[in-house]
Symmetry: C3
Subunit: 447 residues, 3 copies
């Protein structure tokens, strides 16, 4: 039995970065709950316009006050060091120290999460309250980090379906102790793996991918992307899935943005219109976000969504020490995974063509118990003999049958009727049982 809560507690304290022991250790932990294969690309490898960085390793970083007190210590919080900070040891005046300190004036109690991956500098992060309490004097800085050649790691798992056509599901694993904007993604991904694996059949195969953000997706695309591309149907970046927001928000792919929406874009927009309590959509933008910026870069242009609940701008804890399990809920992560599983189940069905088996005219529904057998002013509210429902179900059934000429998919039918796919599903199944409709992933010939 998968215990996301325990998994979270194991992963949270690890000091991850885009490379190094932290991310490797995290991946090994996840291998206990998911058949992950870990890959390595050597530092210095050219990946498109970028280069795979060296590995970064934090041993410990401290700041000692003029009176000898250790006032910052990564043993207490690994956010206190600038992520990817160069090593440094020395004594400085407060004025000399200030340019190396990072804090958030607007959030005085929070330690910010700050990175400097590609420009070598050293730095320490602290709450603004703490910073303002610093007195003039000589400070001792001890940043014991290593930057050395190694590799960038990413991890994959594959779940085979009826076809080689593949859905890519990915999240990132490169932030240190942060909850919603780090661990909610990999945890939801693990849960989703288990839910999809348990389905009796899958039309598509599912490729799972864990990477460090940005450089990880660029490296994956540069080294393994061409193998997946010919089979890729659609994909999704999972991020920030543990916050309190009810609706799952889907960021559209670049294809949607440029007016050439992919199948997954169209499906997501439709779902968000019809099931607006549970799903919403956001336009693509390259100005912010996660790895979809790379998967959707202009010459890659994959049909990748990004799924999130409470995101940057929605909560104060974004990229700082307030982003803990106190804010993020494991239950919400599980519910996100559940809803994403429904999303992909519906996606597998939505583009099937529906065709009535009756050659002309309406089928005689009365003889099948699907229509009132008397007709008069008093039967107008019935959908079957005795079934008084304002005729909602019968009208949906009549409309579905009327549209079932074999040229429209279930999604197109639902769009036409502004009807939820969830409402249509039992009707589709009943009409299939009665032999009145057939479904096919291939369009039917002209009738």
């Amino acid at each position: 039995m998968l215990d996301l809560n325990a998994l979270f507690d194991q992963l949270f304290p690890i000091c991850r970065s885009i490379t190094g022991e932290g991310i490797r250790q995290s991946m090994h932990l996840l291998q206990h709950v998911m058949p992950l294969q870990i890959h390595a690309v050597p530092s210095g490898s050219k990946v498109f316009d970028w280069e795979v960085p060296p590995e970064w390793q934090l041993h410990r970083a401290t700041l000692t006050a003029p009176d000898g007190t250790v006032i910052l210590d990564t043993a207490a919080s690994n956010l206190h060091v600038l992520n990817f900070s160069a090593p440094f040891s020395g004594e400085l005046s407060l004025d000399e120290l200030q340019p190396h300190l990072y804090s958030i004036p607007e959030l005085p109690s929070a330690i910010p999460y700050v990175t400097s991956y590609y420009q070598r500098r050293w730095g320490l992060c602290l709450s603004h309250e703490q910073r303002q309490a610093l007195e003039p004097g000589r400070y001792k800085v001890h940043i014991d980090t290593e930057i050395r050649p190694g590799a960038l790691n990413y991890a994959t798992a594959f779940l085979a379906g009826e076809s080689r056509e593949t859905i890519l599901l990915t999240s990132y694993l490169c932030h240190p102790s942060l909850a919603n904007n780090e661990l909610s993604g990999p945890l939801a991904l693990v849960q989703l793996y288990h839910l999809l694996a348990a389905l009796p059949q899958r039309r598509y195969s599912y490729q799972f991918l864990l990477i460090p953000e940005t450089i990880g997706s660029i490296t994956y695309l540069a080294t393994a992307g061409q193998d997946l591309a010919p089979h890729l149907v659609a994909g999704m970046v999972l991020t920030c899935l543990g916050g309190p927001k009810q609706r799952l928000s889907l960021k559209m792919s670049r294809r949607d943005w440029i007016g050439q929406p992919s199948v997954i874009d169209q499906f997501a927009r439709h779902l968000a219109m019809l099931d607006s309590d549970d799903f919403s959509v956001r336009d693509f933008t390259p100005c912010s976000g996660s790895d979809e910026r790379q998967f959707c870069s202009p010459h890659i242009n994959w049909p990748m969504l990004q799924a999130a609940r409470t995101v940057y701008g929605d909560y104060a804890g974004y990229h700082n020490s307030l982003d803990t399990k106190a804010f993020m809920s494991i239950t919400q992560v599980e519910e996100s995974a559940q809803r994403l599983c429904q999303f992909w189940q519906l996606f597998e069905l939505h583009d099937c063509y529906v065709r009535s088996t009756v050659a002309g005219g309406e089928p005689q529904l009365g003889k099948r118990g699907l229509y009132p057998t008397t007709n008069g002013p008093m039967t107008n509210q019935l959908s079957r003999d005795g079934s008084k429902d304002g005729r909602y179900v019968l009208n949906l059934l009549l409309q579905l049958l009327s549209l079932a000429d074999g040229q429209f998919t279930l999604l197109e039918i639902a769009q036409k009727l502004t009807a939820s796919l969830l409402d249509l599903l039992p009707i589709v199944l009943e009409l299939q049982r009665e032999g009145l409709i057939v479904l096919s992933t291939e369009p039917f010939g002209a009738s």
Copy 2:
């Protein structure tokens, strides 16, 4: 001289059903005013998902109260019997009788029109006032009906035009004594036949069809539909054309609904936009309506409109004894036919391409008396020398000429200008007389 009023009075008392003597007798009456050919399809014939029913014949039905009074008698109103009721004779308690009685609580004085064509049961219809006055006791039921093999009948007439391309005009003839929702349709059809026959020329041929509702159109489609289909340009179901509503309401075809509007759909929508006092449109729906549900079923998909004025939901008398000539007006039926004739005349013209005969630049209208011959600040309101009209006519003429490049039809031009086809017509005729434009049903080559 066609006398619709007298015709109505002959047809109204007949007890029609979907099969039997009633409908045959009605068709024989109509043969006096229109060259109808009557067709018969044997009971038991398989027609798509249905089967042609036996014939039903009402001799008489009565209900006798415990005190011996005959309280219901089809001699008074043929609505008193459940249409297609099985024969039955017997004595029952009031409790045993109740499940066989039909009334409308919301309309206590009206006798409902109720049918049970395909499920054998017996029944009687009465006003709710009458029903509530029934006292406990033994009631005598005598329903003298026959259900026996025979045929389903339908009737056709053909009006030849310049081409074999055909317009199908149809109405139904299967309800007993009801006015707006029965006789208004066949009567308007007869009148329309006379109006179209009197035109000096017809671009299309016109096929007239009278059927019992639903099973009649299914039977027609299954037995004769394939003969008409290759020639069918468009069609129209006529129903409920005698009520007080001013605007003629056109229900679009299924093709319009599925986003593949046919020529008649586009024409009707245009007309309703520009002549909105006289015409309106309704979306197609398979959930209610008349025979367009069959003509527009998914694998038939004919470009058939349905034309009506006051319909179900608009008037209390729908499907009950209040639907009489007291409600419906013969004058309104005649006006409906007149307007439908204009509809088809315009339809025959609307898709003709219009081409200016002047090879370049504007034609010199002044030399033809179509433009003021002086030009100055004081001529801006003139369309011709001395013709002060705020320039409405001249501007319409200039715009029509400007659009007359041979690639646009009259309808497209009217749509572009948001101008009534009726206003454009005299201008088109004048420019034709001057040799400045030519019209053609074929598109002109690129200019």
Copy 3:
């Protein structure tokens, strides 16, 4: 140095008409500031539905009152004679005279400009105040004009660009002493010639054309139009460019009106949306306007705009003696030419395809100084290290790069982003310098 003011003062007093010495004399004056070639088409030549008229020459026209006072004299204003008036000498009563007099009751102090080119009549124009002061008695009319065979003249100049593909820039020169609705057009055209000639490079060639209105464009089209047509990219009629209105108003071509907008139509609509303080658009209409009515006649259908500022309906002086330099400003004419030059510069760039040179993923902007090198909650408002701009510029750059897949033009990118072409221009240039994008007039192959 071009002195439009001096040029105006030379041109204003000349009595121009659609043919004759006035227009020829004006063209000779313009030859001093622009390499104009003057063309002649003989009177009587058939040009489409029209015929080239004879030449008209005014010597002098006077009206003498019963008391012997000369009350109208073309020596004072050449508007006093009906333009193209037949010669006439005689004595008439006031009642006989009245049908030959033209005045504007609504503008009692203005002398109207009235023409009768194709219907031979004689006439005089005067202010309505003057007309109402006329006393009964015998009036002497002396209209000394000549109507004799000659030629219609038009003038052209050509400015070669990198390609033979040509922009047609035209104005008319046929009204007598009128400022905004006559001389503003030719003067702006001359200035625009000088501005375009001074550009370091021109993608297109530019054809300049001066004509008498209506018959001039018809004659040009009938005699020389076929030579230009294969090379024509777009064109513009310049008219009424000296009034006080701030926005330059662009009348769309007929192609836009018929729903087949040309490149220039799309460009103009876009520009007017994004630079709405400086540009606006008007729909095409054949009911009013200038030579675009002929250039956009149905079988010609050239992609020609008409550019104007203060037009008919916007100012009282339209087609009367109030249209002088007191109303029209030379500075405004110069500014119109300046803005039209920017219009054509942008037009030359707008349809170039933009392609990122990075094969996958985003380019690493940080190493090029185009992105902040630290990342944390406090860098979200930066577009570069230290450059605090609410990230407007960086976001525009990121979006431009994201859209630069080689399938979109600069205009399409600006439309997608609702961003001004003027704002995008420096970003495009910087990314070109960094080698991150390339531009091409040809679409790039699929990436």
